[in-house]
């Protein structure tokens, strides 16, 4: 269901066509924004729209789409008691701007998204794997990474077994 309330109007007035789409899904507002302007939109959301709390930052992989990743930012405003979801579409190999400067909590969340999806966050202070070992090859939450896939070379070398399955 398309969304066109005051909030979206303010966003659109400020950022124009950098706000690509807006809709609600199960009464939750979703805003698709230009990946290149993610930081300024984030700053605006935090400072002017009082979405001062980054609840979660994650990604979704749509391999068939032209820009395969959604980077999803879940925001919350203590003042308005309202949630807002920002999405930016990022293609394979493209960098996404890091929002660590806006919310410190994004640090680990972006590392996790990098770890799991291989999305490179530009401007991240310490972008390395967080849950998987540093030398691991592959990004497991991508759709083309099968559930039985593993970095066999790493497993063999470090665990001394043929397979972790």
């Amino acid at each position: 269901m398309p969304l066109d309330n005051d909030l979206v109007k303010r966003f659109k007035a400020r950022f124009g066509d950098k706000i690509h789409e807006a809709w609600t899904d199960r009464k939750q507002s979703i805003l698709v924004v230009n990946a290149a302007s993610l930081v300024e939109i984030s700053e605006y959301s935090r400072d002017d729209e009082s979405f001062d709390y980054l609840v979660d930052l994650t990604a979704v992989d749509w391999p068939k789409r032209e820009k395969r990743f959604d980077v999803v930012l879940n925001l919350y405003s203590f003042q308005k008691n309202e949630r807002l979801r920002l999405k930016a579409y990022v293609g394979e190999g493209e960098g996404c701007l890091s929002v660590t400067g806006v919310w410190s909590t994004a640090n680990w969340l972006e590392r996790e998204a990098y770890d799991m999806f291989g999305i490179v966050f530009e401007g991240h202070p310490n972008l390395k794997r967080i849950l998987l070992p540093d030398e691991w090859q592959g990004h497991p939450l991508r759709k083309d990474y099968d559930i039985l896939t593993q970095d066999t070379a790493w497993v063999r070398e470090n665990l001394g077994i043929e397979s972790g399955q």
Partner: protein
Amino acid sequence: MADTRTTGFPGVEQTVLGADEIIINMGPQHPSTHGVLRVKLRLDGERIVDSECVIGYLHRGVEKIAEHRSYQQFAPYVDRMDYVAAVSNGLGYCEAVEKLLGAEAPMRAKVVRTILTELQRISSHLLWLGTHAIDIGALTPLFYCLREREEILKIFEKYCGARLTTHAFRIGGLQYDTYDGFEAEVKRFCLDFGHRVDEYEQLLTENRIWIARTKGVGVLTAADAIDMGATGPVLRGSGVKWDIRKAMPYAAYEKYEFEIPTGKNGDTYDRYLVRMEEMRQSNRICLQAVEDIPAGPIMGKVGKVLKPPVGEVYHSIEAPKGELGYYIVSDGTTQPYRVRIRPPSFINLEALDKMIKGHLVADVVAIIGTLDIVLGEVDR
């Protein structure tokens, strides 16, 4: 043990005693890192100059597994994340899927869910209290806490057959109705539990050593807490009066009266007080809820095969450790397209590096304890 060759910190190499600073690896095998957390500490004497958390030792790829299971099949997996509060995990997941389906659980199911979840919060906080106290060196509270936790686990066991990984709820409601005497048992526990909390407080709250060890340790200001994304008791300890049970009520919380305790200074002591008060408030909710559990069905209309319409939903609950969120994307099939779990422990743990800087080694364990992390949830 302590690795001196590859320190992982720029500019520091080869130090056993030659240099002023030493590096120690706390964990992943350490008595008080609450699991397989590893913290690399750079020490000047006993003071922490720098630190780095290394996590992932317990990574099981829960989010990946979710994409290969049907909605119902995945439900037991969430119990394995925060394994000391499995009921809360299950509640969050079931409600998220219900929201995605547009279904709703009947009132009776909601009330029973509320009771069990609040009991789980008490049991999780009890385990936290016991281990936190042991970290700081008070040996006795743990056993008192376990004694009461045991009562709660017995209720769980009678209700659904499991004590730890309960899988107590189903999408759409409950599988089992309450057993005979459920109300009486919960009530007996709740009436007794108020005094028990007083007993723990007697041992700790005004103990001078306890105060000295916790006051002013690991201070997190309200602004910092929000910036770091801290939730739950950690956020409330910093003075932010925010609780999802009040802000965005779920289950049957609207019906009950309870307070949100907050701290002032955002230190370990305040977080301790907040959790102690939370136990009392949970107890209060349980007492109110168990007084009248509405009659009626326990399962809503959800069908045998779940095919949520295309779309996505984010639903979060106030788990014992903080905001536990599920972001589920559906592509219209029987398996979720993506399940993202927003783990409170993971995000609270992020604040650790900031909180321990400048403190002593002894404070590190106090601060890890006060963050109340469960590594199963941090690593998923």
